[in-house]
């Protein structure tokens, strides 16, 4: 029954800075907002679409998606009410679209509305989304936690440049979700109370939610697992043995959801010698003297013992992988598992055959070029441990490594003036994680196309950080864009994945899960990697 289970205490060690996911694309903000505002449909824990505000998922079969794939029509559930009691209408959806696509609004989720040419109200509860081009996968706008519907009445004066000035709306959006914002302290704590107008009268079980932020992952884990002060802690990137030790207290445990996150090492195909100045790490710099050799790349991948890395840094929160595209299941390839097992002999042989001779200092070289690399990543204790392990493994095949770690807000910051961004890639190899939203990999796989290579000309923007360029691959991606049938799409995606792994464009290491700490007294938690982890917070309750 609604409101009988008292206060739910959640801790996000990265604090929530706003409740409007359109103004901040940060995961923590999206998750927090998902308790309040909802999309038409979202993904469940298996990655399947489930209707939220929509009555059902439109498909070509049920006529919801036009046969030419150029529009999709959603029908709202009957009698939907905002938390302030006013009805939810198609106009709210239209407004949401306008809000996010208004010029100068800086909408963080604009990508979800890409290709949408129009949103119109067929009637008060029917929304038609039209696309400029046929969309084989039309579930983007208003789908998933990143693209929820906001109330037109509340945000009507907040279009475009005005968006950031609507502080009270941004901090306390009126929604349809199980909770409403009671008080918002940016970057500190958010308190919610149960939504009196929530569509399911029995839910939520909790009367209120306290969402605390700040600190670090380990102490957040401690507050759930050891002291029991909190019920749920998100994103427990902590060494597995530390978590195991905390769980001894018996107050809670770690739950993991596996999405599409892959920790990978990028191998730079271009020369990065600092003497090249601005040209380094671009096509103009020429090929990398060592890393452009496929044998070297392959040897590097083979020399890594992913099991050890997994054990040391991830435990149950990760699995060794050789795939860049590790999920959902239908996309998972098994063709590249040659790298799963460390094979130092083969790796050494590859290098020997390719003419890389072991030097007296234990470092291989050929024509005066040494296998000596700069290996950069962001500052994070698990990554540094991985770096140390990889360094040790590569040393066994005569590769020496200089480690560097860069503050995450610089590394991922993309400041064109900084030499340390991962886009610039002024290093031989670098390590980070990437993934994609939702379950459809098309956009993600397009990130390895030749024209997405960052360069000074594009202000170092572009998803193809590894600078992979293969016309065959580009052609295959284009084909994917034209394929509608799921099985065919999966086959192409696997092929793309295999190309990347076999060419060692990147070295996939670990398929990372999302670990969260859950108090033993909390029931109903279903970890979900495809949507907000709090997607079903309405169903959570206190164990009796």
């Amino acid at each position: 029954e609604r409101g009988t289970d008292g206060d739910l205490k959640i801790i996000f060690w990265q604090a929530v800075s706003t409740m409007n996911p359109y103004l901040s694309g940060g995961t923590k903000e999206v998750y927090a907002a998902s308790m309040v505002i909802e999309p038409l449909a979202r993904y469940d824990e298996t990655g399947a679409l489930v209707p939220m505000l929509a009555a059902e998922i439109p498909t070509v079969e049920n006529g919801g998606v036009a046969a030419d794939l150029k529009s999709i029509t959603w029908k709202l559930k009957p009698d939907l009410k905002w938390s302030d009691g006013t009805p939810v209408t198609a106009d709210d959806a239209i407004f949401t679209w306008k809000y996010c696509t208004a010029p100068d609004g800086g909408c963080a989720q604009a990508a979800y509305y890409e290709g949408v040419s129009n949103v119109e109200a067929v009637d008060a509860s029917t929304i038609k989304v039209s696309f400029a081009e046929p969309k084989p996968y039309p579930y983007s706008a208003f789908v998933g936690a990143q693209s929820p519907i906001i109330q037109a009445a509340q945000f009507k004066d907040c279009l475009g440049v005005k968006a950031p000035e609507c502080t009270s709306a941004n901090f306390g959006p009126i929604g349809t979700g199980p909770f409403v914002v009671k008080e918002f302290k940016p970057n500190d704590v958010v308190t919610f109370t149960a939504n009196p107008n929530y569509r399911d009268p029995a839910k939520p079980a909790f009367a209120s939610v306290t969402l605390k932020g700040g600190g670090d992952a380990a102490s957040a884990a401690r507050s759930v697992l050891e002291t029991g002060e909190f019920d749920y802690a998100w994103n427990m990137q902590v060494e597995p043995e530390v978590l195991a030790a905390m769980m001894q207290a018996g107050k809670g445990k770690i739950e993991v959801a596996f999405g599409t996150q892959v920790e990978r090492i990028d191998v730079n195909p271009y020369a990065v010698d600092p003497s090249l100045g601005d040209k380094r790490s671009t096509k103009e710099a020429g090929p990398h003297p060592a890393l452009s050799d496929p044998a070297v790349r392959k040897a590097l991948s083979l020399a890594i013992d992913r099991d050890i890395i997994d054990e040391a840094g991830y435990g149950d929160n990760g699995k060794p992988t050789c795939n860049i595209l590790p999920a959902p299941d239908i996309y998972v390839s098994t063709a590249v598992d040659w790298c799963l097992k460390q094979d130092l002999d083969t790796a050494n042989k590859l290098l020997d055959d390719a003419g890389w001779k072991m030097g007296s200092d234990g470092i291989r070289e050929k024509n005066g070029v040494k296998l000596s690399f700069l290996y950069q990543t962001s500052t994070n204790s698990v990554r540094q441990a991985t770096q140390a392990l990889v360094k040790d493994m590569w040393a066994q095949i005569g590769v020496s490594v200089e480690l560097r770690n860069i503050s995450a807000n610089v590394f991922f910051g993309g400041d064109p003036a900084s030499p340390d961004t991962f886009q610039k890639f002024y290093a031989d190899v670098q390590m980070y994680t990437n993934n994609f939203d939702g379950t459809d990999p098309e956009k993600y796989m397009a990130g390895w196309m030749c024209d997405k290579i960052p360069s000074p000309a594009t202000g170092w923007q572009g998803e193809n950080i590894v600078r992979y360029c293969n016309p065959e691959y580009d052609a295959l991606v284009k084909e994917l864009g034209k394929t509608g049938k799921l099985e065919d799409r999966a086959a192409i995606a696997k092929k793309l994945n295999d190309m990347l792994s076999n060419d060692v464009a990147q070295i996939p290491l670990i398929h990372r899960g999302q670990p969260s700490a859950v108090n033993a007294t909390l029931a109903g938690v279903k970890m979900n990697a495809w949507d907000s982890e709090l997607w079903n917070v309405a169903d959570w309750s206190r164990k009796k």
């Binding site: 706003t18 901040s24 970057n187 700040g214 002291t227 909190f230 993309g414 990437n434």
Partner: protein, 336 residues
Amino acid sequence: MFTFTLRRLLFAIPTLLVISFIIFALLDLAPSDPLSDLPLTIPPEVREQIRAAMGADQPFVIRYLRWLQQFFVNEPLNIFEQITGMTVGDGNRLRVLSWATRSPVVDLIVQRLPQTLWVVGLSYLFGVMLAIPIGVVSAYKQYSLFDQIGTFVSMVGYSVPTFFTGVLLIVIFSSYLQWFPSIYDTNLVVNDWSSFVAQARQMFLPVLVLTLYNTSQISRFVRASMLDNLHQDYVRTARAKGVKEKVVLLVHVLRNSLIPVVTVIALGVPTIFSGAIITEQIFRVNGLGQLLITAIQGADIPLVQTLTFIFAFLIVLFNLIADVLYGILDPRIRYD
């Protein structure tokens, strides 16, 4: 004295402007980026749009001038309006907005002030209150056991980093003994005895860590200053008058000794407002220190700029206050 103060205040204005400019330039040069914690899934074009919406793509000078106007004109007017209820102009002014939260920076600061004052301020207060008696006794009984122990403890107090003591205390008192919470609840409103107890409990550990540090430092000053004064001629005079030993110590010597100490204490006050970054982080007090560090990490330039500027202002102000206090407390000093 008055003209001295006024002159220093006038001189402070260009100083502060220069400081604000330098801080702004520094922040602008820094390679960290406000969008760095967004997921990589957000495509580059969208990032560009977000940047444009924040105004982060504007030239440096424009942003600086705009900040100046927002901070020195719009914000004070806004405060004025809130206090008096009047509207000046159309009341539609752009305030200094934080990039990360999109909310007015001043509101954020006001929100963070209470816990900072409670925890950092209180521990400073405790530090001062403990340090004075400790310093006095240590000096009066120089080389006694009390003095030796006091010296040792205070040296330990500021040689052990707070991130070490903090974590240690949490493990002992929160995890094993479960006496105190490890997480500070900023929403707690003290309105009755039990909430007061809760507040006291949650403040205990962070205040303990910081008080130890503050006491250590200030008591050293008090001791040194007392020792200087204990051997002055006027102390002998007072004794020769037949003044009671307690009065000699607590009125004659202490008053004189406190003059330099008070200025040292005044110079330390701005650090209260910069917060105790690491301690706040460990205990999740989420005060100004935590605000600053998250802002720096998130490259939230307007927020960092405003906070550091306020901090600089406090430094300059308390420097002045220290000088003026010196002049007030010590009648020998005349600034004119």
